[in-house]
Symmetry: C2
Subunit: 190 residues, 2 copies
Amino acid sequence: MKKVEQTVVVFMLLLPIVVSGQSADSRSDKPVFEGKNTLLKPEGYREWIFVGSSLGLAYSRTPGQGQGRNAELYHNVYINPSSYREYARTGKFPDGTMMVLELARSDVKSEPGLQGSYQKDFVALEASVKDSSRFEGAWAYFNFTEGGGKIKAKADPFPQNACWSCHHVNAATDHVFTQFYPVLRAVTPK
Amino acid sequence: MKKVEQTVVVFMLLLPIVVSGQSADSRSDKPVFEGKNTLLKPEGYREWIFVGSSLGLAYSRTPGQGQGRNAELYHNVYINPSSYREYARTGKFPDGTMMVLELARSDVKSEPGLQGSYQKDFVALEASVKDSSRFEGAWAYFNFTEGGGKIKAKADPFPQNACWSCHHVNAATDHVFTQFYPVLRAVTPK
């Protein structure tokens, strides 16, 4: 093979790698399962699309019940970029959608003239995944939080009567609380 | 020129475009100025790196003063991805760093069992830019908010005694309030 032809071959072999590198986030932001339904902790989610933050927000049947667990906690919510783009295009959350909920303790610093509440440190990590072929009701919910704020590498789904039921009843768009996420509402197709 | 050589040439011409496509966010996330120091509204910032959210947070010399303006407002703060990666590598904010502050009204929905506060809609957009060659004190601050929550396409910097002085005195890391941004602290090199 002539040298110039070898060069072409090398370029042609390299090109798909380079091109696919363009959409690295689309390839790597999908849920990864082990065994039947064990979800591996998502990587790089802090570089995903942030959709909203709330403070002490919770649904609770008895007043005060949610308050106890969630008071003083910020909920930062992210969506994987490839599903965000698909949602912005179609208004639907595709299979493979993963939303991450990272919880942070809030604090009010006792500093002269400083007022208000801010995020102090992260204490918990949860996720939801849409996969119609895998989960009854399409969505499943996972908690990666261990005791002492440690985050574990994998998690099994909650039973359907835990998170799913509340999301099913109260979330505005297909089990996603878009009523609390102005970033998602801004890209919902009209 | 032989066909195979032409193909090589085409590949070599295309390659830089394809490669640079990999870091599209690095090319397009830099501040763009018009004239002397007029900053164009950053595009695509909701796909940047979210660093933290706060509620009603403000420095104010007289108690209640900040409260009036900022109470009930969430502050969502983003950093441009290329500067985030540089900060994670070096612990320094490079020239070209742009931070975006998007303000959202908070609301507490009167719904049975729902407690806590969430982000309702966006009402203001501000930004800071580091550019040592352009601004005295390296950083400048911009407000894109017009009356009625409308966002304008360009903004001139505030005088240095407005935002800069407070950031200079109170921000933990080079005019950036890393004390309120756990996402940035998590990637600060040890």
